[in-house]
Symmetry: C2
């Protein structure tokens, strides 16, 4: 086949898309690996072996281990937003958003989105005693997540669906507790039981908190 | 520079330190370190630096990294038994034992018994994807712990203090969920709030489960 000249901007564009694809493929592998072996073990050389690239090839994408770790957290955050936050937050009422956040989280765990369980639960437990930008980013993620649960409770209270006497932060804590333990037990047991237990716990708690007005 | 003979007192001091470091003192340091840097990083050379012993001195106590890790888990288990299980299990009724297990666990977390939070929560999250004897021992610990909570619920039901309609495993899950999240949040925030939230969650749940007959 004869070579035809290709417009430069198309070649550049293709190269850029290829580059973005390989960057996100690398980060998907990195996020999986972080839930199995820890984000601390996520060196460029370890990951190079996993994705079949040279260490220098990886260096073209990420200048340092810390940059790689931070990009991995961001990639995991994108996946979490896609699978949990965004679909849950489209619901029209606060109570439905609250239920949706819990349900979507449990689906995300049960679907084994990450081989070693929820990325954020696993990795924050690993780095919680290691000050630095990776820990900071994970702590911010956790604060945002609890803020979403609490915000949905407040909205539901504003809509008259959840008793105004409930402390939103306390109710968010109790829902998150069931989700957090479900994830930890699912990773160990790989069966549906902890997921079902969390559902029962949350349904029961919400049945008490709802006024039946909505 | 002329070599001077090493002062005898330095040699003596080193010998005394080596001699005084009991096996359990080494393991206390190992257990602390495991909650901060992970049990995977608990090599003999890393621990030698931490306790000021030679690597060969540590080898006299533990033949391999895995032996050291298993002995560390056992030592953490002893501490847990002393601080949580044994005092809680002296209570005369099932309901008091259940409340005691939860209260003692929260005290053990709040007292920072381990620098990086509950040894078992932290280390099992680290090794849950790494099959082997360390993971096996931690999974057994967790099963025993949940069994204690569930057994106390059953005893309380037998004594008429907790509603017979409650599923003991479900109630144990819900109590453990609050304890587990309290530990994780305490490690990050280092304030009493998560401990108080767990207490409120458990008190509320037990108020519902108790028949008031006891």
């Amino acid at each position: 086949m004869a070579k035809s000249p290709q417009p430069t901007r198309v070649t550049d564009r293709k190269r850029r898309i290829d580059g973005e694809r390989s960057r996100s493929a690398i980060l998907d592998a990195a996020a999986q690996l972080a839930t199995v072996e820890g984000i601390g073990g996520l060196s460029l050389s370890r990951l190079a072996g996993e994705v079949g690239m040279s260490k220098s090839g990886l260096f073209a994408h990420f200048g340092s281990k810390e940059e790689l770790q931070l990009a991995t957290v961001d990639r995991a955050n994108e996946l979490f937003d896609d699978q949990v936050l965004e679909p849950a937050l489209t619901a029209p009422t606060g109570l439905e958003r609250l239920q949706g956040l819990a349900e979507r989280y449990l689906r995300y765990v049960e679907a084994e989105t990450f081989r070693g369980g929820c990325f954020f639960a696993t990795v924050l437990t690993e780095v919680d005693m290691q000050p630095g930008p990776v820990r900071d980013r994970l702590v911010r993620f956790l604060g945002d997540w609890l803020g979403q649960l609490e915000g949905a409770v407040r909205d539901a209270q504003g809509e008259g669906a959840i008793d105004a006497a409930e402390d939103p932060a306390q109710l968010a804590f109790e829902i998150e507790a069931a989700l957090f333990l479900a994830n930890a037990q699912f990773v160990v047991a790989r069966g549906p039981e902890p997921i079902r237990r969390a559902e029962r716990a949350i349904n029961r708690r919400l049945a008490e908190a709802t006024t039946g007005a909505a």
